[in-house]
Subunit: 345 residues, 2 copies
């Protein structure tokens, strides 16, 4: 067993109620570690919208605490929670965890004798459960990572994207903790470079060897047999196993299948949307073309040239070797297997 450094956490609550949400500003990583003080719902929405906090599970946790921020300021609990949930739900459209967390918070607010303190307890529970789910998921996924494996991942599905520890990176951390040697290839993940900025940062902090790739290099790395398996996170998984994740995931999945490389998804139950039959129903956020045409405030493309900037894509289930959840593993996912996994039929 190998001890890992204390995990990086993307947010924390300070005090009871009224209290303060502190969000590690991921836009500034890896060069600066700055925490944002978040004391009201608009600031929380802005932090989610601008990706100061990102990653489906972390967005869910941030939104849960965001509801507490609304509740601790409002005179009437239920209307305050409803208003906060409505604003937070509009911050980003794709990650299921956001809506899942808001539903949990609204349910607590609707209970007899609900208080802001009770809402804080629920948000803390969501946070702590996510940590536990990541650990459990990591143990399930680690069994699929051989000693000496070269693992490709896309975007950041690590501690920064969750309560702590991570989904896809949680599987890698668990493999390393069990004594395996693992080397990670990290896609840089344009346009916002979560792979180069966040995944490389986390892995370096954890002492896991990492090599950065431009996104367009993954196919050639597979052709040259540099990659043994792929593991990524997810923002929303449909009941047939189709899933949305950071733009570029679909291309990686097609390339992995072309090369006979296993392609795994790691995500907690809160990422599943069993109401959606297939991936075509997932709303895909499109962000500003400037994110593609510019970098770090500097325009790269000629002025006046437009861009298409979907923040996510959809990978059909047929490309997925297995999904790791806190409950176990869904191999070759299908509607029947997904529903059975959650005891939902």
């Amino acid at each position: 067993m190998r001890a890992m450094p204390a995990p990086i956490e993307p947010l924390r609550w300070e005090g009871a109620v009224p209290g303060t949400l502190w969000i590690l500003d991921q836009r500034k990583l890896p060069h600066e570690r700055v925490e944002l003080r978040v004391e009201d719902v608009p600031t929380c929405c802005e932090a989610i919208r601008t990706l100061a906090v990102r990653g489906a599970p972390a967005i869910g946790i941030a939104a849960a605490f965001g509801v507490v921020l609304g509740a601790q300021r409002g005179r009437d609990l239920v209307p305050a929670v409803e208003a906060a949930a409505r604003d937070l739900a509009a911050s980003r459209p794709t990650a299921k965890n956001l809506f899942w967390a808001l539903e949990r918070m609204k349910k607590v607010a609707s209970e007899r004798g609900a208080t802001a303190q009770r809402l804080l307890d629920e948000a803390r529970a969501i946070h702590e459960e996510d940590r536990q789910m990541c650990r459990a998921m990591g143990r399930h996924g680690a069994a699929y990572i051989a000693d000496g494996a070269n693992v490709l991942t896309h975007c950041n599905a690590g501690g920064l994207a969750t309560g702590a520890y991570g989904t896809a990176l949680g599987c890698i951390y668990a493999a390393v903790e069990s004594g395996k040697s693992v080397h990670v290839y990290a896609d840089e993940t344009r346009p916002l470079l979560q792979g180069a900025r966040l995944t490389a940062f986390e892995l370096k902090e954890s002492g896991v060897p990492v090599t950065l790739l431009a996104d367009n290099m993954a196919g050639f790395a597979m052709q040259r047999r540099k990659i043994d398996l792929v593991v990524v996170g997810a923002d929303r998984i449909c009941r047939n196993g189709d899933f949305a994740n950071k733009i570029g995931t679909y291309s990686v999945a097609v390339l992995a299948r072309e090369h006979g490389i296993p392609f795994y998804v790691a995500a907690p139950g809160s990422t599943f949307d069993l109401e959606l039959a297939s991936g075509s129903q997932i709303p895909i956020e499109e962000r500003s073309p400037d994110e593609v045409g510019s970098h770090a405030g500097k325009r790269v493309a000629p002025h006046g040239v437009g861009a298409w900037n979907p923040a996510f894509d959809v990978t059909p289930a047929r490309y997925v070797t297995a999904i790791f959840t806190e409950r176990g593993v869904i191999e070759a996912p299908s509607e029947a297997k997904v529903l059975a996994h959650f005891g939902a039929r």
Copy 2:
């Protein structure tokens, strides 16, 4: 017929011998148009190595003029040409056109009564022939681009990469000149962003509508039926039709086949290396990891994190629908068809 603006040219020779090579510094595009004055071989090598001039045909032309620079300074023509050719050959390893142009120049230098003026004539001929080849290739390729087509291209295979007009973009320009409406999706092409900086620039200057994509978006664009065909350039084509081109081309080719989208390559005869049986024999340049760890000159990844940075990849011929050359079209390329195309057996 639609008139196009005067084509952008990446280099020009001023004077006779001794004369000066002026190279448009593509590292500064699209925001600044600066010409580099090149009066000796080391400066020419440096311009090629640092991508002030890039694109397989343009590198070949620059190298031909580079030989003239060596010859016009040397006291003895043959040793001066040999030294210049040796240095220029070491500037970049992958593009065949570089070595092809140097062979032509050395052959002229070896002829009885060779002079620097005769070498300049040959370099000018190489330049002019490339312009003509691009026009011919464009006519052949344009027949494969339907009115209203959405065309994906990767990197820059335009006027800036050639004597003028371009290979892949030449096909698009010819289609537009023949009256067709064409919309281009341009992969930004990390790490050096030739798509965002150069292809978007050229197309905008030419009045051809262009939408920029991060490289990892091409697969999703195909899944959502936004792309009708792909056309790219090449740096070296083997006699079986396998070819090297800018890193990321292979991924685009795999994705195109997965979606049943035609994938075309446009390249002049000078890009073919009939001595190489297959793509595994092509030397692939690996450049500094800093190009991946940085974006637009600014460090993005944590310091100390390494990267893999192959500048090119190899696409097997089985992914290629057709190759356009100045001589015509090689559909479903194979060794027999490539050799027959060049009358080489």
